[in-house]
Symmetry: none
Subunit: 402 residues, 2 copies
């Protein structure tokens, strides 16, 4: 049939921003991978009327409706009651399935789970109780107007285990998607360059920009998706991350490890963000020696050996200083390749000659030593984020060039 | 009036699970803190009909409707078109606001931003264009049937900057609410200690935990709110941030600047996150000298002067090493006070004696020199986040103690 799926997360804690829903986005990704488009994700309160109304809004419009949460034993667990009202049927206890759950527990938990039977075993008459492999609340499968409605508990591992056990296996593979990540292109320029691809009626393209990267996601027939990815890689041979890579830091760590190259950084305005990004990658310690964040001129001179003369003649925000910082990081950390960043993140510290947003970058390695400047727009956080992205891109490109 | 808010995130990438929405849950938390209940969060596709239908479903039912995404220049940016159709008005160019955006860019980007004017400057006739402080897409403010409708770009930092500039100030100004931020208390223990306050029927309390901090937001009659804040401050005299402070890094920079104390750090497992957090504060350069991120043992010895003997006898994850790192940071950066962090963030590198999550901290200053250990749970990102929070808390407490 078709018409996709809708996913509902039930819980006041998500509407007050105390928790954010992870179940629906996880399931959306799995469904998407299996070719089932997700039409909508909704977060709704622990409230029978709201659940009832939202379920009624989707049933008959989608093939699958999946509810997360509201199946526990407490007064704010209203999902089963809302479902029974929606289906116009009474609740009944699915004792057979609940017995299997109770049997899994030992005292003292067992008697608590038994005591919760009077609510947790209840399912709408005509529905099917679903065994929860990890917790004590039953899941519920029902259907109405051509929509299969699944309700799973909201505890993330229970939700996932139940979706894996009772829902995902029956979804057949119906389509395909692939993504390619491009570095160093503003979204608008990239969209222009690939305009004909983006306008193809038989291909669905999502463009996802983040600092320094644009992710292109193609969906459609397998062959067409494949040829779109090849087209992008051919058009931008120097700018695409490798297949399966989605961000620069893991790409940097993987390539450096493969080639036995050790890395270091010298940072000023980014304040440690470059090092933090690289060390976010598990196993970064195989290649990453460290980063010297030298905010003051004294630190640049003392730690990294930037010459006083350089600081006096050119200032800390200069190509000369960036190069000496990069050289210094390579030397003091004993690293093969280093990148340096020094700039003015603002809001203060700008001058006419060097306004806020002026950032110098340098690399120092066995076959490459150079500096370049960028003028970045935006506020302090934005400038720091982009300076970090550019430093990472520089490291990545230098590693690629070998 | 009342009736709260509804938040819509627009974008196929969230329905396909490639990204998950963070804008709505962030805004939900801010609105909740300001006393505006969120009635629903919905993720909907890049599709004019879906946007139109969803907007129509909320307008007239809530006081505020906030849309995230779909305002860029590409073919899948449909929000402005859907809004115009919903309002039954044509689109017009807000050239005045767009001029201010174009003026911020330099070539070659400037001409691209100019070229995007034909879509990005368009707003529904009668609506208000909102200046985007970080990107090139305009935001849109309109209203219908008593609902104020705000549309902001979906790029997270643009969304947040625009909500802070154009929406939140008018919400947070009204009503009586006050917050107090508590450091170093787990949410559950704090809730227990303040149980009677939390149960008061005439006071609405939100508890918003983040790494290392819990923000308590009180809403109600002015007098009662005031007395609740005083009660918390009296009960936890050493653990509350000062009035108006909402996070540790600004509190650290303010206090250090006031007392003329310069700061430095030495980091291992946090990889630069402590330095990045402190330098996130505008004006941090008044007090912050730098951070030496020494991932390898060689770097710890060479840069910070940690003794080879210490590394051999106790290992890099030890109180002895942490103390020598802190001493070294103080010395090489010429700082008055320093904090050091060294630990095992995982997933690899743990041993039976020092499992993943073992983190040592040390401070070194004129009147305080000590080390302590914490065993942190969770994955790599979680351990790094908490280690950073604890390092910042340590610096803050040491500054307070003088």
């Amino acid at each position: 049939m078709g018409n996709g799926a809708a996913l509902l997360a039930i819980g006041d804690e998500m509407l007050s921003g105390i928790r954010s829903d992870t179940n629906c986005s996880w399931l959306a990704s799995r469904l998407h991978g299996a070719g089932v488009p997700v039409r909508g994700i909704q977060v709704i309160p622990d409230n029978e009327e709201a659940i009832l109304e939202t379920v009624a809004g989707w049933v008959g419009k989608v093939e699958f409706l999946v509810l997360s949460g509201g199946l526990g034993p407490t007064h704010d667990d209203r999902t089963r009651f809302a479902l029974a009202r929606f289906l116009h049927v009474p609740l009944r206890a699915d004792d057979q399935t609940y017995d299997r759950i109770v049997a899994r527990y030992e005292e003292p938990l067992r008697s608590r789970v038994e005591a919760a039977r009077s609510t947790q075993a209840l399912i709408p008459d005509g529905a099917r109780g679903l065994l929860n492999p990890q917790g004590s609340a039953l899941g519920i499968a029902s259907s109405a107007k051509g929509t299969d409605v699944f309700s799973f508990p909201g505890v993330p591992w229970e939700f996932r285990a139940m979706a894996e056990a009772h829902f995902l296996p029956r979804i057949e593979r119906r389509g395909t998607w692939k993504q390619v990540v491009v570095a160093g292109w503003p979204e608008s320029l990239l969209a222009e360059k690939l305009a004909d691809l983006l306008l193809k009626r038989t291909l669905h393209v999502s463009i996802l920009p983040s600092a320094g990267l644009v992710t292109l996601v193609f969906r459609g027939e397998a062959e067409e998706v494949e040829s779109a990815v090849l087209r992008v890689r051919k058009e931008l041979p120097d700018d695409c991350l490798e297949d399966g890579e989605t961000d620069l830091p893991p790409a940097i760590v993987t390539r450096a490890a493969r080639e036995g190259i050790s890395l270091a950084c010298a940072e000023s305005c980014t304040g440690g963000l470059v090092g933090a990004a690289i060390t976010d990658v598990p196993g970064a310690s195989r290649v990453f020696q460290g980063t010297a964040v030298c905010y003051s001129n004294e630190a640049k001179a003392n730690l990294l050996g930037v010459k006083r003369r350089t600081l006096e003649a050119h200032g800390a925000v200069s190509g000369e200083c960036a190069l000496e910082m990069a050289d210094g990081a390579r030397r003091v950390f004993g690293a093969d390749l280093s990148v340096a960043v020094t700039g003015i993140a603002g809001p203060e510290g700008g001058t006419e000659a060097k306004p806020v947003g002026t950032v110098w970058f340098a690399v120092s390695g066995p076959s490459s030593r150079k500096a370049f400047k960028r003028n970045l727009a935006g506020d302090r956080a934005h400038i720091r984020r982009w300076a970090t992205a550019i430093a990472l891109e520089t490291l990545w490109r230098t590693l690629k060039e070998g």
